[in-house]
Symmetry: C2
Subunit: 430 residues, 2 copies
């Protein structure tokens, strides 16, 4: 972890470093992913099962690719009762928060018979990808499924890789069942994304595919975008803490480490106006790191993407926060709420010294699927918005069309679209 | 234009035909587009000017790539006063409609010091692509720019190709000025998309790129997705008319033709429960086609993608409408409003016999940039939503965190994220 003076040069080199972590840097995998997608599209189940044998070592067939009710019931026996209890508590908060995101159809009408509006409908079927492997994140299942559920999506399917015996992690299954997933398929990787994008004999086609995954999954999602909708393409996690001399260095250090432990590409940055705090946080980071189980990952991510930046003043610090557009932002300053109003770009904003980032990961209710790597400048957290879409509504009476029909003809003729003009004219010819 | 009985087989072959028009079918251009993007990313202005010379025949430099105030003033002299008048009238409706789409930041709080919420901010800079060539569509400029303006985007830039003398169509320039574009650059094609995605010495980087274009533009937008946000990938236009025996065959025919004239890949479909109407519409289509200036295009698009489908009953017809998920849908039946409530998937829905599709293209206010080729199942019309993004807000007091802090630790430890657990624990250790 480097301590540096905050200058435009520092920021530029930091931003260049962070962008190196972007999935779009790995175009060398694109052709391999393209091949998997084309094969699944053409050969459907047969290709999916072949890739599953190759990559996951499992023998899947149309008969055993889907998780059964019995497997779900068995999963509950393997999950700690305490975990089930917190999953259920968290789900209440996640549901409550996302219900406030609901959008409603509206219309506007006038007495001469004009109605314009916007109709909101959920998508028909959502596909949620859940990674397998060593790390298992039931919280991620809740966060990806619940917005679809609240949006009113009729069918939510999930894919997650199985082990070579065809088993899926029980905590993943329990989280899926609790969140309300309708069908679960034991497949992973680019082949699972392709199966949900185009449909196979066993896997139904989804309208939108969401969920995190490795580089193959990320590139596959990008490749199928347009055939289906996808959430934003996730990169490695980040935290940015904006703190002044009022902050508790121990809390700040602990929060920086909570993101650094995710993986070696994770980034943890402190921007502070206080040199004293900077030194104290660095000491606390070193003290904690020794005690933590994931210290090897933490050391690597801090070495590569960990920064303590000393800003000349709060305004400069805020400008930098907006330039970085971090996934997670903690504001631990005097007048933190006022500072929040000046933040333009961040995935999630945590205000005050008790709003620790993991509170948002698990419990507070807002979604933990957030735009990474500067994409908070144009992407939003995963939300109910991702699972609805809108249709414009237009209804004009004859009385409403008559005073403007010549204007429309005029416009159409200027664009040399004579059939457009004709479709208006024909209504007033008689 | 074929008249067929509506069966599941008919629908399947129709959907297969329509999908042939999708830009994702043209992957052979991908490597060419990829090369243009990489060149612009690396060599910036130099590459942009080289491609402009090659494709548009124009000699551009950093000094003349941007449209000047003088050129804008000159453009006003070349535009018919009638066109300017309808542009201004249309803009009032477009602005009024889009203002109703505005979303607001919200928060929810409780007495023990919990606040969760969602902050809405506009993106900083939008990039609008406007095609050049023979067809000039000032209405498209208005529809792409106005939602960004209403969203509160600070800077809106536009790119559009120039002719070999460096001139841009005056109607395009006037529409851009009227809608409130801040800067206009005389470049087009994949090189313009790349320039807006990565920035060059002359062209600033945009956060979101919207606007229609040819296959190179569509593929370039898909390729830069993730670096920036994009609107949905547009395919050729479509109209679907759902009509019963109460419909006026002449109006229906004219409306079908208004989309068929767009290009040879455009599609026009009538689904009706009335064999009589089907025959009458076909006769009217033939009568009108002879009279229309774009009859060659119309004939080709109707031959390939024009259908009249006779449905056994209204329910089957509605199911088919939802399966096709057309860009434009006209409902010309008895109880048209009730039928509308049963439509799940369509870009824009036009209700009743005076709600002709071109009314929506130019004048009513809703956006004419709509999801095509079945993507209305998951994409929405271009809207203010496209130019805003959201940040989650989380603020907990110590009193709020204390009763649940052990739950969060529990969850984090189940996921083996010990630094996450530590960041909560450290706050209650003392």
């Amino acid at each position: 972890m480097r301590t540096l003076k905050l200058t435009q040069d520092t920021i530029n080199s930091l931003l260049t470093d962070l962008l190196k972590r972007s999935p779009s840097q790995y175009t060398e995998f694109e052709s391999k992913v393209g091949e998997i997608i084309e094969n699944v599209r053409a050969k459907k189940d047969a290709a999916v099962f072949e890739y599953t044998k190759k990559f996951d070592g499992a023998d899947l067939t149309a008969e055993n690719v889907e998780v059964t009710e019995e497997e779900l019931a068995m999963a509950y026996k393997f999950v700690q009762p305490e975990l089930l209890k917190v999953i259920r508590k968290a789900l209440v908060n996640i549901k409550t928060y996302h219900e406030k995101q609901k959008q409603y159809s509206w219309f506007d009408s006038s007495e001469n018979g004009i109605m314009v509006g916007q109709k909101v409908t959920p998508i028909d079927r959502a596909g949620v990808y859940v990674p397998g492997g060593k790390a298992v994140y039931p919280s991620s299942v809740l966060m990806n499924v619940m917005p679809a559920k609240v949006a009113g999506v009729k069918e939510i399917i999930m894919t997650t890789p199985c082990d070579k015996n065809g088993n899926v992690n029980p905590a993943t299954l329990v989280a899926a069942k609790e969140a309300g997933v309708d069908r679960i398929f034991k497949i992973g990787g680019a082949q699972a994304i392709a199966a949900m994008a185009f449909g196979t004999e066993s896997i139904p086609k989804a309208d939108k595919i969401v969920g995190p995954g490795n580089i193959y999954v990320a590139l596959a999602k990008k490749a199928v975008f347009g055939h289906v909708s996808i959430d934003s393409i996730a990169g490695p996690s980040e935290i940015l803490v904006l703190a002044d001399e009022t902050a508790n260095p121990s809390y700040v250090a602990a929060d920086l480490l909570s993101q650094a432990e995710h993986d070696e590409l994770a980034s943890a940055i402190l921007i502070t106006t206080s040199e004293k705090l900077a030194a104290e946080v660095l000491a606390e980071v070193q003290r904690f790191t020794h005690e933590l189980s994931r210290k090897e990952i933490i050391k690597k991510s801090l070495d590569n993407y960990g920064y303590i930046l000393i800003a000349p003043d709060l305004n400069t610090a805020i400008d930098t926060v907006n330039e970085i557009a971090s996934e997670h932002l903690e504001i631990v300053t005097a007048n933190a709420f006022e500072v929040m109003t000046r933040i333009k770009h961040a995935g999630a904003i945590f205000i005050g010294e008790y709003s620790s980032e993991p509170l948002g990961d698990y419990f507070a209710g807002p979604n933990h699927v957030l735009p990474t790597n500067g994409t908070a400048k144009f992407f939003s957290p995963l939300s109910v918005d991702d699972f609805i879409k809108k249709s414009s509504i237009i209804s004009y009476s004859k009385e409403a069309l008559e005073p403007i029909y010549k204007d429309i003809i005029q416009f159409a003729e200027c664009e040399q679209l004579t059939a457009h003009a004709n479709s208006i004219r024909v209504r007033f010819e008689d």
